[in-house]
């Protein structure tokens, strides 16, 4: 990208974006819509962190089979995120523990954070978008 481009539209500015997913899949449209927005954001070359906490950790469950409820199974899309250079996925240990889950139950590799690590990660963001 040339200096001229950056002066024209400021597109060289990289901000830290966090997408905060706190809802279970399917029961509401938040999880799917959040994922769509994350994929769109990937086109803007920003510093993206994707966080799954509370019921949001359920989005990453292995073994999802949506045929019986006739909705799209978007869980496999999470595995395509690194193809969009979205590689920073986080869950918090507290949310896993409260649901009887471990990292092995999840469909993608994630970094598991303590509450202290999660609060610091949130605090250092420029923009937090919640779904």
């Amino acid at each position: 990208m040339s200096d001229m481009d950056m002066e024209d539209d400021g597109s060289g500015i990289v901000k830290k974006f966090m997408f905060l997913n706190r809802k279970a899949p399917h029961g509401t449209v938040y999880a799917l819509e959040g994922l769509e927005v994350v994929l769109i954001t990937a086109a803007f070359d920003q510093d993206v962190s994707l966080v799954f906490t509370d019921d949001g950790v359920y989005q990453l469950m292995k073994g999802i089979d949506t045929k019986g409820i006739e909705v799209k199974d978007f869980s496999k899309t999470y595995r395509a995120l690194d193809g969009y250079d979205i590689e920073k996925l986080y869950v918090d240990q507290s949310s896993l523990d409260a649901r009887g889950l471990t990292e092995d139950d999840l469909i993608v590799d994630v970094t598991v954070l303590s509450d202290d690590e999660m609060k610091n990660l949130m605090d250092e963001q420029d923009v937090v978008i919640s779904f």
Binding site: A24, H26, G27, G68, I69, A98, R99, G100
Partner: protein, 99 residues
């Protein structure tokens, strides 16, 4: 009465209210995000198992499968399909959806 709960117990209070106010011998059917409550290790698991002593607890199988939870259902919870859902509605004199 058949009680139907569709919200996650870790997000809303509808399951707690249902279990608090359902009379002994009633049926409780968990559907949509409420099915997580019927899974092993969930925050609501102990409540469901305690409630199963006085209530009949059901969970909708297709909703469990859609959430990757088909293999984690608590003992004492009866998994039903859509036909079973219809049977439950037909068998009970009245039903209440806890929205």
């Amino acid at each position: 009465m058949l009680h139907i709960v569709n919200k996650s117990a870790t997000e809303r209070s509808s399951l707690d209210s249902c279990l608090r106010l359902a009379t002994k011998g009633s049926a409780v059917l968990l559907i949509e995000d409420a099915v997580y409550a019927a899974t092993k290790g969930s925050a609501a698991a102990a409540k469901i198992q305690a409630a199963a002593a006085g209530l009949k607890i059901y969970a909708l199988g297709p909703d469990l499968a859609a959430r990757g939870m088909a293999g984690r259902v608590l003992d004492g919870v009866n998994v039903v399909d859509y036909g079973g859902f219809v049977d439950l509605v037909a068998e009970h004199r009245n039903c209440q959806s806890w929205l």
